[in-house]
Symmetry: C2
Subunit: 248 residues, 2 copies
DNA sequence: CCTGCTATGTGCGGTAACCCTCGTATGCTG
DNA sequence: CAGCATACGAGGGTTACCGCACATAGCAGG
């Protein structure tokens, strides 16, 4: 496996100090994560945690009437299965792959061992959990106050940040399911974005031509999530405060 | 201070084993939490964590244009300031008291000491954080899919669960700000609830007359939050799994 | 008891997003 | 290359919520 598919494609794994990384590396299992695969069912017990490298996964809630909407997305910046170390072992939401790709998984027991060492891995996981909480919070705010167009832009940008290229492979219907809106709403908004020259698309493929254009149409929620994620996790390896702050 | 105002009015503090409770008890400081008080400013550093007993606090996000909406509420079932032990030390949201009352606070440093013992307190805090995440998630779902009336019912029920009586002291305007909707929308929905005999209200006071009536009008979100909170935290003292699960 | 502030009630036009339906065309598959 | 599933586009009626403007009514302070 070449470096483009190695574990350190995942930002959390990459942020581990060498010693900690080598301790878990033998137990990291490369797995394919095809489009549509359900990693966790609502209220299902977790056997593994997943560190995506090229795949992107949606945590979403399916309502009694069948409608659903995304709570948060997880790609190479994060990990799936935080309810393991939070103590609940499951959540009321599902986790479904919406951009096929790869990731590494680790057995639940091994992750808990690492977590209980109360070292860098624990700090990283907890900080990631907080970043995720911010993402969920902004989803809530965004759902209340912002237009479908703004939400589409936010969502495209967040997804784009998790991919190496500027091409997303997905249908408008899929995006509509993620955002919990009608497909026609996405068609309209995407049409306007194409008209503006920010994106171009054809049957299941969306190319982003002008990132900053999308950013001007997105609501502040995108920036809040990015900024908070950066604050909590970026350059985390360099920051002494990662450990020291926990004892202050 | 009588038992009706003691620290074990807070469910998290009450769930601590005797030994752990006595270790922190001397450091718990009873504080008044009057309506409107801002406990944490957006991105402000935390000096204390707060365990409300009779007060209720809203974590909410204020947008650039001044509009705001609640992300989650915290009362005697929880604690404010989880970003301390999550490692971020702050969040992009504010924490404002919306039902005046009392609570206990603990210095940040002392809470971190307890957290780093990796004992029951840590398990409790992490589990509570997960319950809070579920609450935020359902807020997101609810904002997307449910009517103002459903959301009002959900919100009244969640608030009611944190109070000893069936009377809420708050204006429709306040509720509107919490839910991020127009005041008139609340007037209408509340009018219907009063017509149905579920509540009765007068200028700043709402009495709930028929809980189960409200439950029938609320969306599933209320039940999901309650159930998950119960699963994660109820009778936590009796459950051996609280510690054992973390080593499994 | 009066005054004034503030909470609540109401009405009206505007609009974004809904629901449903159907037409069109793209790109895979045999 | 032909056939077909499915992704996208478009139209029309409906509704929930918004924004504003203003009327009424409860309650506190003088």
């Amino acid at each position: 496996m070449d470096s483009s598919q190695g574990p350190n494609q995942n930002h959390l794994l990459a942020a581990l100090p060498t010693a900690e990384f080598h301790r878990i590396a033998p137990h990291l299992e490369l797995v394919a994560m095809p489009l549509g695969e359900v990693l966790y069912e609502s209220s299902g017990q977790l056997q593994h945690v997943y560190f995506p490298t090229t795949a992107i996964v949606s945590m979403h809630y399916v309502m009694e009437n069948g409608a659903s909407s995304e709570i948060a997305g997880v790609g190479n910046e994060g990990v799936l299965g935080i309810s393991l170390f939070m103590g609940g072992n499951t959540t009321p939401s599902r986790a479904v792959v919406y951009t096929g790709g790869y990731g590494y998984r680790l057995k639940a027991r091994l992750l808990m061992q690492e977590f209980n060492r109360a070292d860098i891995m624990q700090r990283l996981l907890l900080r990631y959990a907080q970043a995720l909480m911010t993402q969920i919070s902004q989803t809530a705010v965004c759902n209340r106050h912002h237009s479908v167009e703004q939400q589409l832009c936010r969502w495209l940008l967040l997804t784009l940040d998790r991919l190496p290229s500027n091409e997303l492979v997905m249908t408008q219907e899929l995006i509509a399911n993620m955002l919990g809106v009608r497909r026609e709403g996405i068609t309209e908004a995407a049409g306007r974005m194409q008209q503006a020259g920010f994106i171009s698309y054809r049957r299941g493929h969306i190319s982003v031509l002008d990132r900053s254009g999308l950013e001007t149409r997105a609501c502040e929620c995108y920036a809040v999530v990015k900024k908070e994620h950066h604050r909590l996790l970026c350059d985390v390896r360099n920051r002494q405060e990662l450990l020291s702050s926990s004892h202050s």
